[in-house]
Symmetry: C3
Subunit: 632 residues, 3 copies
């Protein structure tokens, strides 16, 4: 499959008389894809059950006729104002109990039955009309599930649905009380109708209660989305997809992704660096115009798994955005670098958001490929350059990596429910681990615990709070080098500490006898350099100590192929420890300069310079924003 | 007109038998004015429609007989508790939806019709009784509109009034939808009754929506106040005034000021330095006992414009206050310096708040000229010293400055609605610019965009987000040197980016092709020294580049008398760039030491030392808190 | 009386078949006491008026038969879920108006009459059943009053009760208006039913209003608790106690303590260091594994007074906890040190919380003496070591100190109501003063203002905002050296500044003519070294200046035995000034190293090393966590 480019377009925003010219310019710029429709409900159905299809028929025809392939979005992220008259209680409610009102987007509660019925209705109409349209080459449902903190809703609808979900899962309150340990603090329930959402409690609620609410909330997204994919499946053969966000962990993307053909995500490297990467101020300063060197790659690898191998960047930042704390311009060349980086990680397509900067409403300072006056913005030339470079580039050429990193949404919720130290996050632990691997030149596959791990030489599963016995057995039986911990298998399915104590891994005599969290100013020095930070476990057992504190306490212990690491390592310790561990596993590493990253496909090794200065590498000097394709 | 002094007095707080002595001491201290009555509603009307005028008649007679001129306040900032029984829904509501309750002051929503009727009633009674009283020499309406964040109310009353205001302004929802770009995110309305206040939305509301709400909220203040001034106008010939606050930008003071004869403001240099100047910690430390060297002067110049040339400080800090994060004592001499500084900027009168420190209630740690035990507080001797110095000082002698700075409330709302970078504020940009001018020894006139700019040699209008074509033409036709930008003319009347792109100035080929906001740790170095910070625009066009980044990007461009500056400059760059620009405009400058400021009247040049150490100046050494009057 | 140890146990959490073994292990570990029952309401009364006593009878018998003495708790901190069906409005309400829901603990409003009746009912049942049980050796009411910010409730029940309380106290609104100075800002009331709780006001409410609400809220705790103690008194001869918290100042513990025989408190040195000591980051870092060197001792001395000389630590941290921002492990030996430190301050017993770490619910990461798998956790060996050491240690041997520090809850509320500088706290002032005394090797008695001060050589009463004339006279008549100020006697009984101005002490001509609060970066240097920080008063009068600023302003003044200190001193100034003052009072001091503290009983001097390194002392080298008992 050829790698392709595209963009996001809103015909309803622009005069009818420039659509043809826009379409022609897209094609001339080397773009293949155009995504439309995902916010247009009000224009499609101006009044309840009154439809205006003309403009959309027309837009599809104009774009299609120009040779563009269309991704059509369902408009359920932006119900019109009249929908609130039908369902006054459809709004999500914040944790303080305030309804989250109309006036922007995503103003709905996933648990509201009436709204879900109206979504079923509009999607059916859309699919009936365009399911077999030859220009529609893919369908997107809704938009950015979870964006603006919209997974958790504390509404009446959510409360009712949560009670049902609990009743289904536990069957009796006796079972629930036992599973959650509600004997503690006299929290036992006699009826599912007594159970409230876990907000506004006097002090923290039972973590089992919160974890259940997190799982329920994720399931509500799956249920909400499946209504749409089922309708679409019955009416179209085009692939289905959704545009996921960066660091959105409120729902299980593997679960939602099971109903899709392709995973796509919205990549905003500069905005994300400012508002969600969690980098130190120094790192934020260094990469302010380039974005974090690992954050995008991490999501590329994650969503490749979510998409069962098929994935896109469907929204690529093309210049400054409007929504981050600070919104600088990218370094010249970064739009190209980001695009090639996606392809290096296996993307089939990269689409820029958006075609033309809107002069009105919320995103008026969000760059497009065109300025509001239709002149080319700087991003367009870089997109065009990639389009040219793609002409003689290899096709999408996936290559299974030798190293796998296990990513589990349920575990991330556990970290959020019980961080034990201020701000500790399982996501950050995964990202730190991934960064360490990347600094060693490793191409990584990110996989869910349910994956088939055949063929990997080395598997890392840090912070995997819940591990079934079956998973433990399956991993141990692979023969691959296995690096678990910290916090692995620390809770059972209902958020209780198992006995025997964690990690209770087959064949490895290691017990976490106690754990502590550390102030940022008290890292614990390790023998051989580097430190444990944030999280440190006390390990007991007969396994061999392969890493220890300067005072001699074991930090990592090993037997055979399985190593348990009982700490969160800082960057120096991570690189050193993982390098040694990989060497033992027979995986070759190279320590890359701070700003350089590489990524292998089946045919090429890509070199990227994420720093602001030229760097000498073994393939020669690489300028800022430099991309080098080394044939393999 | 002679410059005069005064104080604020609450006869209802003190035993009747000390009023005569208080009045006599005021006169003996050199005070001319006494302000009374503005919080006394409950004592005037203890029960609905039951009035007790005796004590107020008496107080007016005692003070007047002693020779004092009285400013009488309408008591509408403090409705009695019984008012809530009449109008349970009169309270303002905070942005989270919680009513802002009785128990302090300003507990009303400007949009509540019933409360406004009761204000009409009490002011009519007051004006009928005292409108022709010879001792009443001025009237104040209400107290500190906007203080305690009281302009924006999210109440039902405000919602209803906002819908009416929108209907009046747009006539149809089609027009409103078009103007706001509501097609974006399916936000189009079919009825004005569908439009809510822009709070509690899922993500940010449409900036056009918020800007409209800001304008509406300002208009509500004008409407509320005008009820009172119309009643007073019909019943008195005394001048009318209101006491504005420092850095209160929630309503358009020029609009409200149109109904007044005099502008007055409440100047608390130490409190403001701690809670609203926005200075760096280092600057806060240096000026902790003196106040910011430019903040008061800026407001003096601003409110001189609001008052059409006539203005006072009606509340002058006389010692430590009670309401700032920290409340240090002023450096000895600062009360005198602040008073003279006001006179240097053209004040007709300076009144100290308050006569005697109240030992009870909210302000019990707010200094007065007297202590609670009626002994003199330190401020009294400094007031007395000024009174003596005034005996042979020149009269108020206004002098039009050569340099004008344009101040527009609507533009400040635009910055708040869409800062694009964390905490960026149009007010701060104006204050930084003003500070730069003052460091160069310039006396400045601050003017609204509607002003007549005749006679100015140089006009600066930074951050003027909205500029009508008429304004552009008018400014260009003046012949004066014009310094615009950044962000000038960046939005049309409905918060949309105009095409052709901004600034689209007549005769100046400059286009802002893109803009970025900068992290505080990434200032961009400029050729010749200094940096751009916070806000940086990319400029295109054929105009001459007169300032550039070290990498060669144009930062300021000029043709003829008009210069466009596409950046927010730091202090070093500001002083250097503005000095050069003023030199070209034929305006002489002198670079003053950090702590020294000067101000010219028609007869004198005033020198002030705001620092904690003696400074050598061209007029000799100036001690801390030093004031030197140099005849011109 | 022998010093004893104990633990907290929840038989309802564990299978019946391990109770005997648990009991036997407790006894074998040297424990005497076991506390049970305080969260078990739901298990005792599963449905309204349906009781299940069997398990509790059994548990008491098992533990008692093993030789343990039982403290039985009333379960009123954790009403079962069905209680909400009886009293839907029983929940406390937060300051924003949101009910604080079921799902953790302490979910009740102290003012709710219906809930208080149900507490009366359950306590009566408990006391009837177990009041004469020979194994029940003490009773605890409820659990940690005030924990999780539960003293102040903004509920309807609280509003009604507050109005009654005000009516009782003031009898007429005229009296209340006069006392509070409600003439200010027209805040006068005509009926007690007009008075609301002082939350959600537009700007700050009248401090007299808030202080009244604080006093009311404390009285509600006393009233709530007394219902229980009265029932118990009638049915048991065992001592009654409550477990107080660290830095819980929301209610007057002396008032509540009047109804108890013993005071106990819950001592979590590491958790408290992270979340409430208020130490600098450097100090937090240094003592992260040991806890603040003075915070526990301060509470030991405080609760000794609350308990009329009889006090315990009823919950002692035995390892990492789960609820602080960071939760590190204690340095080895600290559990022993904390235990001995309590005994050194006169504790009769120290109980560890908890026996076995619970694998479920909110505290699953809170250490116990046992791990969840019943293996010994590190704390158990240290407890066992203390048990052994106690065998030949002296009995509890109280000794009146020579120096007293006055602690007044009402004064702390005044500081909170009116800090005048950001974050200033009367508690911190007391702790700083206490720390200064301890650095000088002083053993301190902490006493309420109502105490009999006979026999003390030196009495300190910093920040005692309200002092009656009787108290002034009583203190002055003692002959002891008296150190008052800052802020002493600064307000009358209704939060008004008295005239003559404070402190108005008999025989001491000192007047606070003005005061200021200081930014943290502007401490004022004093002659002889050290600084005034936070709070600085200007003093007038004829008394002798014994401490002054470098610019010569008096900071402390003295006549005879009475000294008034008008500033908050930093540690250097505090140590120097207090040392000199104590020397004059004939009290010997020794300046201890930073980490070392001593404490004298009648028979021994205890030496403790709170630092992470060995320290040389006059009794030899003391290792980290070292405890040395020097016979006297
Ligand atoms: Zn008269
Ligand atoms: Zn709320
Ligand atoms: Zn027995």
């Amino acid at each position: 499959m050829k790698r392709t480019l595209g963009t996001c377009y809103y015909p309803e925003h622009w005069p009818r008389d420039i659509w043809e010219e826009d379409a022609a310019r897209m094609v001339a710029s080397g773009l293949t894809w155009v995504r439309i429709g995902e916010f247009a409900w009000k224009r499609i159905e101006p009044e309840p059950d009154v439809f205006d299809w003309g403009w959309l028929d027309d837009a599809i025809e104009v774009l299609g006729a120009a040779g563009l392939k269309i991704i059509l979005g369902t408009p359920t992220a932006t119900p019109p104002r009249w929908m609130l008259d039908r369902h006054p209680d459809m709004l999500a409610v914040d944790a303080q109990g305030h309804p989250r009102k109309f006036g922007s987007r995503r103003h709905y509660c996933f648990s509201h039955d009436g709204y879900r019925q109206d979504c079923r209705r509009i999607v059916t109409h859309l699919a009936d009309r365009y399911g077999r349209n030859p220009h529609i080459a893919a369908w997107q449902t809704d938009n950015e599930y979870g964006c603006h903190d919209t997974i958790l809703s504390w509404s009446d609808a959510a409360r009712r649905a949560f009670r049902d979900w609990l009743a289904q899962r536990y069957q009796s309150t006796e079972a629930l009380n036992r599973a959650w340990g509600n004997v503690f603090w006299s929290m036992e329930y006699d009826s599912f109708d007594e159970i409230d959402l876990p907000n506004l409690t006097v002090t923290e609620p039972n973590p089992a209660h919160v974890q259940a609410f997190r799982r329920f909330s994720s399931d509500q997204v799956v249920r909400f989305n499946r209504v749409q994919t089922e309708i679409l499946r019955a009416r179209t053969d085009a692939p289905l997809l959704h545009n996921y966000m960066g660091r959105e962990t409120g729902f299980d993307h593997f679960d939602v992704g099971a109903d899709f053909d392709i995973a796509t995500w919205d990549s905003y490297p500069l905005g994300f660096l400012e508002d969600r990467v969690g980098a130190t101020p120094e790192r934020q300063r260094r990469y302010a115009r380039q974005g974090d060197p690992d954050f995008q790659a991490f999501h590329h690898d994650l969503y490749r798994a979510v998409g069962h191998g098929r994935w896109w960047v469907i929204e690529q930042q093309p210049g400054p955005v409007n929504w981050a704390p600070y919104n600088p311009s990218p370094l010249p060349g970064m739009v190209r670098l980001w695009t090639w980086e996606a392809f290096a990680h296996g993307a089939e397509a990269v689409c820029y958001f958006r075609w033309r900067q809107a002069p009105f409403a919320q995103e008026q300072l969000h760059s497009g490929l065109l300025r509001p006056d239709s002149e080319a913005a700087p991003g367009l030339a870089e997109a065009r350059q990639v389009a040219d470079e793609l002409l003689d580039a290899p096709e999408v050429a996936p290559l299974q990596a030798t190293v796998a990193l296990v990513f589990d949404y349920d575990a991330l919720w556990s970290w959020e429910v019980q961080p034990q130290g201020r701000g500790l996050s399982g996501f950050d632990l995964l990202l730190d681990t991934y960064r360490g691997l990347r600094r060693l030149g490793i191409s990584v596959d990110i996989l869910p615990p349910s994956a088939d791990f055949d063929g990997y030489r080395a598997i890392l599963a840090p912070g995997l709070v819940r591990m079934s016995d079956a998973l433990k057995e399956r991993l141990a039986s692979l023969g691959a080098a296995l690096l678990l911990g910290p916090r692995s298998a620390a809770r059972d399915a209902d958020f209780t500490i198992p006995v025997p104590l964690p990690p209770a891994l087959p064949g490895l005599d290691v017990t976490v006898s106690r754990l502590e969290t550390l102030r940022p100013d008290m890292p614990v020095p390790l023998t051989g350099g580097g430190h444990a930070k944030h999280w440190l476990e006390e390990l007991e057992g007969t396994a061999e100590t392969v890493l220890a504190t300067e005072t001699g306490a074991p930090v990592a212990m090993r037997r055979g192929a399985t190593t348990y690491l009982g700490a969160w390592l800082d960057e120096a310790a991570m690189i050193r420890f993982v390098a040694d561990w990989l060497a033992e596993a027979g995986v070759e590493t190279m320590t890359l300069p701070e700003d350089i990253r590489i990524r292998d496909t089946a045919t090429e090794r890509f070199w990227f310079n994420h720093g602001p200065e030229t760097v000498e590498t073994e393939v020669g000097p690489l300028p800022p924003a430099g991309v080098l394709r080394q044939p393999l």
